[in-house]
Amino acid sequence: MSNVGKIIMINGPVVKAENMEGFTMREMVLVGEKKLIGEIISINEGIATIQVYEETVGLKAGEAIYPTNKPLSVKLGPGIIGNIFDGIERPLMDIFDKGGDYIPEGIGLTSIDLHRKWKVKINVPVGQELKAGAIFGEVQESPVVRHKLMIPPDKWGKVIFAEKDGEYDLEHVLLILDDGVNKNEIKMYQEWPVRIPRPVTKRNPISKLLVTGQRVIDTFFPLAKGGTAAIPGGFGTGKTSAQHQLAKWSDADIIVYVGCGERGNEMTEVLEDFPKLKDPRNGQPLMNRTVLIANTSNMPVAAREASIYTGITIAEYYRDMGYNIALMADSTSRWAEALREISGRLEEMPAEEGYPAYLPSRIGQFYERAGDVKTLSGEEGSITIIGAVSPPGGDFSEPVTQNTKRVVGTFLALDRALAYSRHYPAINWINSYTGYVDDLRDWYRGNVSEHMLELREKMLGILGEEHKLMEIVKLVGEDILPDDQRLILEISKVLKTGYLQQNSFHELDANVSLKKQYNMLRVIDRLYEKALAAVKKGVPISLIREEKLFYDIISMKYNVPEDDEAAFDRYIEQIDIYFDPLVSQYDKGGIRYEDKVSEH
């Protein structure tokens, strides 16, 4: 056989081989006797550089490189949901069942189970013309996911054979299409190269909120279906916890969770918890809508680079069925570092901080694969990408954070000081931002309230003012401020403790509907307005800050169940009952306390 290369150099995950004229750029190859999986990343006069997705221990110069004649691809079909794969879609549960407590190398290109039988319903008759991407049947993949069977994006034609409904495995031919040139067999699965975005009919403008149940996000820094977000933060500030919360509670149809270069136990945690947690919308275990891609920090670094693409390709496949997908990538920094490591071993010219010059474009291309789209089959689907970023030393000025910030729509900046005081989620409300508010205006109006965004802006204003006041307080203390400014501090405390802080372990607080969020804001707003009126009448802050009332409002998040709307009116009543008589006393020129402001 002539089309076999020969290894001439081995340096960690990077291998060079000669006699590679017959190979193509980005081709997936099998490396050495163990048939390790690799990908060609450059070819130069018959010498190819290959990144290897498995440990290269024991590999020798002179061993062969075998072609696969296709680019690095994943198999897409039933059996993905509820599963966990490594960075190149090898099934970790199967590997475990076969005795793999540890991941051995040379296990070959296994993927979804091609022999498993599924009950298939075929929806197209013989004679029908099918376009690329058309839906021709379905499989109930999990209790919540109806897996639509699609013609691959590069095939089309007239149906000349259609299988009867029944139970088949993935290799069974379900349709034969005649495109005038070829007769193509269509099976339950298709293959797609991970680095190429799957085509769509068109992209839609952003218009829907991705509801996450997290107050600081939904109210202040919303995510959009089809949008992008980054969660940067130093170690231990809560990126993974935030990603887990989003994976649990966001109202996507399917969650693709990519553990990219992070801890093994964090994947295990999802595997143990998600089957037990129920999706509030249908009572089904969350695992039934989740797929995990795991390349933990100690797994081969080249597969880390691929894991992000494997994840997004799977997301696109389900999007093409007309689903809303949320993809979490934790952490994109590890992916960027994998790029850097490979680039370093190739002795490429480094740009900023050793990263290759193509880092910004790779980051941009990845987030570009998010979007709200009309699929080839005419369905509406979306992918939201939420990437964690782990800046060295927690310093956001580094290249990965900066280049990510430039392309994402929502930026949820985690803050070390908040994390130290165990204010969770430690999302800093001054440094975070979202570009989606205008796109989502109608959504909030139609689904929450006309006043939701007004309240949002008002509360952000209060928090912003508090931030400025705290600069002064740090220098001179709080007592010197006039009472209307002290009120800003007090209301901000209520907002911080009673609203922004959210307890992911509390049954009522872990996941909060927008209705409840709006109602809580309404109560806090009433408190502010009544208190402000009182301040203007000269009521001293010590009387305004009524302990019991403030405590009740701060803890309303723990006390009001989702369906008890009337409770919020009771809080409002409680506020009125306290302030109205107080103010009228002052109106009548009743008891006057010394005004603290005039003392200073």
Binding site: M9, N11, D101, S297, G477, S555
Partner: protein
Amino acid sequence: MKIKYLNIKKIEGPLIILDGVKDASFDEMVEIEVEGQEVRKGKVVQIDRNRAIIQVFEGTTGMSLNNTRISFAGRPLEIPLSKDILGRVFNGIGEPLDGAPLFSGKKYDIHGRAMNPVARLYPRNFIQTGISAIDGLTTLIRGQKLPIFSGDGLPHNELAAQIVRQAQITEGEGENFAIVFAAMGIKHGEADFFRRSFQQSGVLKKVVMYQNLADDPIIERITTPRCALTAAEYLAFEEDMHVLVILTNITSYCEALREISASREEVPSRKGYPGYLYSDLATLYERAGMIKGKKGSITQIPILTMPNDDITHPVPDLTGYITEGQIILSRDLHQRGIYPPINVLPSLSRLMKDGIGEGFTREDHPDVSSQVFSAYSRVQEIRSLAQVIGEDELSDTDKKYLEFGNEFEKQFVRQNYDENRNLMDTLDIMWELLKILPKSELTRVKPEHIEKYMEA
């Protein structure tokens, strides 16, 4: 018969470059004979056609282009293991240092493989260390990797020794525990301190030591923790033992890695450390944990010193990104005479959330610890305010916070080197201290818990 190679091309730092090699495999072990007698070990770190680059463990001192013969072992570095390793001392490549041979039929590749996340068992069992700042606020969980971030001259060794002495690693009074100790670049005195302390607490027979001290060959510093962790995996997953691994000093380990990387002329990343430092450290730290269907566990306490007490230095920074939290020692507390000088605010135990509270420790534990964190972080703000405006100008509430802060450090954080507090006492002290604050400040604890634990 193995082929012996003579044609060394170049010797540079810890590396030998050898030409005309036929059958070398990546990462394989080599034996190097110097002057026809002394045998050193090395491994293949790069292959380029028929040239092999070899890293020599004991160093290249005394080697010349013509006094050295090299033979390839055909396998990666392996060490023999059996239960007889308990109570013994080995060097950084797993050879006994106490003269006696080790009998074992089985050899283990020290590199290990990545644990399949499906095979892992999520750690949830609390280990009482008897140290309030840890048990109460940064709870250690069996199977966790929880490093100590320290600085030169801070008592991290004492703290680690106290943990080893007091930690209840096994359920009940079990005997099936072991301590694996990897010394990397530490001084003889420090190693002796640990040995004495193991002896005093009567666990010496349960300790396996792999040591590469400050004056040992730097290159073996890279294999030392790997030998130790291979031994730990053997004890935990083949002998069902609960293993506590102490790795010290990670900073020396990383410096050795940097030195070798520099001699290979690799592109450096931050502060000259190689770009793969994160992945490399992960291959150590991720070897902690538990496996489904196995009785044992590996709990890791790596120790590192932060150069210039700088937590953003790559060694602590990348460690923090991999480990499941960190215990941070503070020079300020140390100078104020507080032992253990644990700065609780930046300290963190990530596995704590699933291992405390009702059914694990006590129902009030999550909330009361959160309240203490919140209060103590407020203390820091007020302290800096007090420095500006003077303590007298503080509001009454702020003064209470100052008092809380001082008492917290004196009564809660501070304890004796031989004081073993049980968890209930630790929790009660927290409530006792919270009494100092006005009740309206206690927004993170439940009113019924205040009644039950504070006012009772």
